[in-house]
């Protein structure tokens, strides 16, 4: 009994640590090798960069010769815009579904839940047709629209649960105070679901940032390419510029890491303590 009890946490830790290593290893490998010369990358891919193998040629190429700044700006604007739309529209829809009983509300909720189960890429062809007929091909707007649609179902699903947990008394107290429904939403509901918003933000932004599929079919132009698409130019059919690929991948981690750090600070608990006893 005693042994198994002591073994339990050990086993759990061993499992988690090995998972962490497996998950982080490829990323560390990319970062190490982005600082090495081409020769060293192929000779000893697992070793850390040292004085002999240290080389910034990849970064020089990425930052110097290509239009990487444009790609970065594109990625950032698409991610931030989509994120903003998903959070605002998602929270508003979740509030409507959680708070108001209107005919068809159950159907709408179910309809949105289906959006979680069916991957949006199945509709790529129709999406392409729609975007073309809207004249939005090769624009960032097309990407923002598609990513907003992609992120909304899960956002609404998660936020609705959180909003439903906010005590009714708070909303009713506000209504007695003569506060409008809009202001209840902005001044009471939104601040109280901040941790949930942060969670949804993290879930939403990472697939958007990393996506290659939609940039490739909806906005493949030089001016509208995102980072993931831009990196492809270094991957050729016969020759791949590994220095540049690894350097751009390393750089691509930075903005999303910063965004993640911003949101993860919001993931604090106990925000509602003191509201109701």
């Amino acid at each position: 009994m005693r042994n198994s009890r002591r073994l339990g946490p050990l086993a759990v830790h061993a499992l988690l640590i090995s998972y962490t290593i497996i998950a982080l290893f490829p990323i560390l490998l990319i970062i190490f090798n982005s600082f090495k010369s081409r020769k060293a990358i192929f000779k000893s891919p697992l070793s850390l960069p040292d004085a002999n193998t240290f080389d910034l040629v990849g970064f020089e190429k990425v930052l110097g010769s290509s239009s990487f700044d444009v790609y970065f700006l594109n990625s950032i604007s698409v991610t931030v815009m989509s994120l903003a739309f998903v959070l605002v529209l998602g929270a508003m829809a979740a509030w409507a579904l959680a708070e108001y009983d209107f005919p068809g509300s159950d159907f709408v909720a179910l309809f949105l839940a289906i959006g979680i189960m069916i991957p949006i890429r199945l509709g790529s062809v129709s999406l392409l047709k729609i975007i073309v007929s809207l004249g939005l091909i090769n624009t960032l707007t097309a990407l923002v629209l598609v990513y907003t649609a992609q992120g909304l179902p899960l956002a609404i699903f998660i936020l609705r649960e959180f909003i439903a947990q906010i005590p009714d008394d708070l909303k009713e107290a506000a209504r007695c105070d003569g506060v409008t429904e809009y202001r209840i939403f902005w001044s009471i509901i939104l601040p109280l679901i901040r941790p949930a918003l942060a969670t949804v933000a993290v879930f939403t932004m990472i697939p958007v940032w990393n996506d290659l599929w939609f940039p490739l079919i909806l906005a493949p132009g030089e001016d509208t390419a995102t980072v993931t698409l831009g990196i492809q130019q270094f991957i050729g059919q016969y020759v791949t510029d590994w220095n540049a690929v690894l350097a751009s991948l390393t750089l691509a981690i930075v903005p999303i890491l910063i965004l993640y750090l911003v949101f993860s600070r919001q993931l604090i608990r106990g925000l509602t303590s003191g509201a109701v006893k």
């Binding site: 005590p167 009713e172 209504r175 105070d177 409008t180 003191g274 109701v276 006893k277």
Partner: protein, 391 residues
């Protein structure tokens, strides 16, 4: 400030009706307490008045205006919730000022501010905070306050809105006993100070008795009785109110009518041992009818000095210091029906468990209820047992 008039208020959820036609008049400046056991509909009734639930049928007037279809804020009410319902992400000051920052609606439904000017809001909040001794706490968050302080903030938030009517929904039930007494006094003081119309819901009859100008006892969606605390205590209209008001509650004994006079009736208790003439108007009572007679524990005394006399064995003695409660035995040929029979006696009584005691009560202290639980009118003029006349 305003009168409130409820006429035939009904509320149904689906096919089940929870309030069956409530008629209540609340005068301007009156402190009215809705009291009743849980599930009697008292909180629902309060929420109907507040406008948080829709009224299924009947008319609600505040200050002479029909308000059935108005929103809570249009009704100019302020509600204090049992859970306090403070906004956790706002300071005490912000909590109190929140409802004021939108006197007039700006663009986006008041989102961008507008409305009453800042100085007036500051003045109002500080005035309310001062009267509730909240000033040192204005910058704190609700999570940093004790239960009593949170309750005061919730009351303060209601005061700053300067409403027509204050609604309190069991405001003291989350506080501990000592704080409850303090806050109760505080609320009584506020009522005098603000001269406000207050409707207060509680299940605690002590709160009801101490605070109310008028008590409305609700039972199962009906008004069981409505009157001043002393009227309810001395002249309960039915067995439910008689048992609900007063602590420990009234003792009931089963009896049969053996004779009917013009202004009194003779009954014999089910045990057959006690036969007594009681000064009540018989109404349409028939001979041999079953009745319940009720006597409050505090109107019984040891000895045999009064007309209504019984004796029994003591099962439990509860000593409270200033008084002792004797719970009398309930055996096979016991005169007392199913409930334990309680007698309040003085604190230094030497009676112990197992002793046999004689108890008695004045005839004017005895209540009689007919088979359907309606009280028969008592003819007594003994001022110890009747409510003082209303001024």
């Amino acid at each position: 400030m305003a009168d409130i008039k409820l006429s035939g208020i009904r509320k149904s959820y689906g096919s089940s009706e929870v309030l069956h036609g409530i008629d209540i008049d609340v005068k301007d400046g009156e402190f009215v307490v809705f009291v009743g056991p849980s599930g009697c509909g008292k909180s629902t009734l309060l929420r109907l008045i507040a406008g948080l639930e829709t009224i299924s049928d009947g008319e609600l007037q505040i200050a002479g205006q029909k308000v059935n279809d108005l929103t809570p804020s249009q009704r100019k009410i302020a509600m204090v919730f049992q859970s306090y319902a403070l906004y956790p992400h706002m300071t005490v000051y912000q909590n109190m000022a929140f409802g004021l920052t939108l006197g007039k609606k700006g663009p986006l439904g008041g989102l961008l501010g507008g409305g009453e000017n800042k100085k007036m809001i500051e003045e109002k909040v500080h005035k309310a905070a001062a009267s509730l001794k909240l000033e040192p706490l204005l910058k704190r968050y609700p999570r940093e306050l004790s239960g009593g302080q949170r309750q005061r903030v919730a009351i303060g938030r209601a005061i700053v809105r300067d409403p027509n009517v204050f609604l309190f929904d069991e405001p003291l039930s989350n506080l501990d006993a000592a704080l409850r007494v303090n806050t109760r006094l505080e609320i009584a003081r506020l009522h005098q100070e603000l001269e406000a119309t207050i409707i207060y819901v509680t299940h605690d009859q002590v709160e009801a008795m101490t605070l109310a100008d008028k008590i409305v006892v609700l039972n199962d969606g009906y008004v069981a009785q409505c009157g001043t605390p002393l009227e309810l205590y001395h002249q309960p209209a039915n067995k439910f109110v008689a048992g609900f008001i007063g602590s420990p509650s009234m003792n009931f004994l089963e009896a049969t009518v053996t004779d009917i006079g013009p202004e009194d009736i003779e009954v014999v208790l089910s045990s057959g041992k006690v036969k007594v003439r009681l000064p009540v108007l018989p109404g349409d009572l028939a001979l041999d009818a079953r009745v319940s007679i009720g006597i409050r524990p505090e109107h019984l005394q040891e000895g045999s000095g009064e007309v209504f006399r019984m004796s029994s064995r003591v099962k439990v003695v509860e000593q409270l210091g200033e008084a002792s409660y004797l719970y009398l035995e309930n055996g096979e040929d016991d005169p007392f029906c199913n409930e334990p029979f309680c007698v309040k006696t003085n604190g230094h009584s030497s009676i112990r468990t197992g002793d046999s005691v004689d108890i008695c009560a004045a005839l004017s202290a005895v209540h009689v209820f007919n088979a359907s639980g309606i009280a028969l009118t008592r003819t007594t003029t003994d001022s110890r047992y009747i409510a003082p006349r209303r001024a």
